[in-house]
Subunit: 445 residues, 2 copies
Amino acid sequence: MKKEITIIGAGLVGSLLGIYMAKRGYKVNIFERRGDMRKERMSAGRSINLAMSDRGLLALEKVGLADEIKKIAIPMHGRYIHNMDGSTAFQPYGKEGQFINSVSRGTLNMKLMDLAEAHGVQLHFNHKCGAIDWTNNQVTFEISATEVYEHRAGIIFGADGAFSAARLQHQLQHDKFNYQQYYIDCGYKELAIPPTASGDFAMEVNALHIWPRKDYMLIALPNLDKTFTCTLFFPFEGEASFAKLTTEDAVKDFFAKTFPDAVSLMPDYVHEFFHNPTSSLVTVKCFPWIREDKFALIGDAAHAIVPFFGQGMNCGFEDCRILDELMDQYGDDWHAVLAQYQALRKPDGDAIADLAINNFTEMRDKTADPKFLLQKKIEARLHDKYPDKWIPAYSQVTFSPHIRYSEALRRGQQQEAIMQKVMQLPDIESKWDSEEVERMVVGEL
Amino acid sequence: MKKEITIIGAGLVGSLLGIYMAKRGYKVNIFERRGDMRKERMSAGRSINLAMSDRGLLALEKVGLADEIKKIAIPMHGRYIHNMDGSTAFQPYGKEGQFINSVSRGTLNMKLMDLAEAHGVQLHFNHKCGAIDWTNNQVTFEISATEVYEHRAGIIFGADGAFSAARLQHQLQHDKFNYQQYYIDCGYKELAIPPTASGDFAMEVNALHIWPRKDYMLIALPNLDKTFTCTLFFPFEGEASFAKLTTEDAVKDFFAKTFPDAVSLMPDYVHEFFHNPTSSLVTVKCFPWIREDKFALIGDAAHAIVPFFGQGMNCGFEDCRILDELMDQYGDDWHAVLAQYQALRKPDGDAIADLAINNFTEMRDKTADPKFLLQKKIEARLHDKYPDKWIPAYSQVTFSPHIRYSEALRRGQQQEAIMQKVMQLPDIESKWDSEEVERMVVGEL
């Protein structure tokens, strides 16, 4: 008989994993700390947009959800840069026809929950993971201050996010547990751009808007209701920081100087600045992810990353897809499945964590640098002429779901070293598309 | 009035810190989880030797203990290498007259406790740090299963080692706490070499003995009672590992093949192998180390490192010396003292953590490599001719207490890059002491 599957966390990854397992004939129980978001109002101001790209879509295809999600997604074909001087520029993400998708986190999560239930998955809300007894495979959930439920689990998955309670139980009861949590110096705050008076999008809709300002940035993603959700990534401390902007005047002054073209589009930003929460951004790496044939961490619980590559959800969905493929290979041999899952996914989780940190510098600083834009242009040309040999790092991560993150990191570093040399050529501005440059690159590959 | 000083942990660093503070006129209370080691027998088999070098001695000089410790220390002038084929080699640590010191951890700790009490420090044993209430500066100590003591603290120092309870309280109550714990794949086990039948040291006494075997190693440090304490650093899992050596025959077989000349000196090693504990080796990095003017982590509690550079205690003692020097500068302005302490010591703690990890590879693998020995010879020659410009990394860390660890790491990496080029010269074996090599190095500096 197939074992029961206990999933802790009914977020994006927990719900998708439940569907995968139910389709394989497992009895699945998902326990969620919060109430049912389909019945209750979500708290506002925290990461309501996702950038879904090919890895996420590939994982959804396998459960037949990709087409439905595409219908509620807004394609973003590139970065729309808003410079300090009011000028703008558009930088395509990939080749013609390649794009990422702005998707509402809430809508996606609710669709996944519905589909999970349609496949027979049992969802239990307001169940907070307390203790896990590994010997007896027993998970204790707190239902209220006085009420607990003891669940006899088959295989346990911790899919409960960056601050995973399941991981904490695993860690506290594990000898030699490697663990790292690293907060970057910036936090984020969400602001809103409503539709225009005539009811239209206030800016170009099919783009991810960036106001790169070196040490910080504002970004905006489009929503189906013709609003944009803006996110300010901003230092906690220092010259320009959340700590400094403590009065309405200070906020108005700063925004007027720093984001002049955005201010006119955000009628409520001062109120939002003081009422929306300031959230922090953490990277979590840990090891091991599994316990024998009993337990595995998945998604953010295994590898929380910063959002600057738009890969958090994509990576978590890929965890589910890879796990599913391993079950094609190893069937119900959970020892083998989990061991292989960890062996494959740990280096990829580490790699996308590092890539995501690096991309913050790229987004907030380099996208405003003409030299960087020229480099991107050269790389795009190389990609056109040598589509298999030269794939820009961004495209490897975003549009090449069969290249592993760890491979994308390695190849990206190799290509960056070559581009460093290329960019130092005298007169590179005038001969960027010359045969000389092309020969040099091909010679180095 | 001066604030009271509460120190959690009466180990090496806590005791030394207590002396420093008492000498400045502070009322000091030290709370120790264990009983008084001066009255109770210590548990055997865990890191009973220390390699005291110039940083540790400098910190002891300031409290007048250096001379007394030198009397009970055994100078080790270099590495005494035992190769697989039975051949041996001696590699000096520094210049003529430079050496590190084998010191008994227990003896040193007891002397520090005695001196602390002589300075009026109150030592409280069997007090286990439970909760810390930061708002009211109150520390709760568990004395027994039913009895607690609530201590009203002035300034609180967490000096309670790699698995610090004080740090855990700090972490649990701190937003955005950066934390990393990393276990290496090797553990360690202590074995003993008794004196010879005639009552003498069984090997050369003034050296640190190493049996480098690539993925693992055995080392031995001399003790005053003419014994050596051996430590086997060995993988937990894999081909040759603790997991594989589960029978007496397997252990005998392995040692006879791998450490033939050591086996004959260790009559009890098989018994010890199965009865002494296998300990793990962790690196801990965290941030912040301090809370306003109330609290600071110090020693292993702030920066636990692996033992391969012999710097754990030296670094903790240096923490105390730097803190003391900052009080010369800032007096009782604890806000300034702690902020500067953290700003200075965090990068140095990170640096020695990384240096210590790197030195494992050097000790277990490179010390048996003729090419590496040649490189050491070239570097020693450069150091002789340019004593200020070229100081080998090992000497910077060990014999140059006024070079910061972070500076030693930086300069060491720079020198290593130069030496990589030097070692690739054709015929370097024959022209290692030529003017050509010298000119090349000087040109690169």
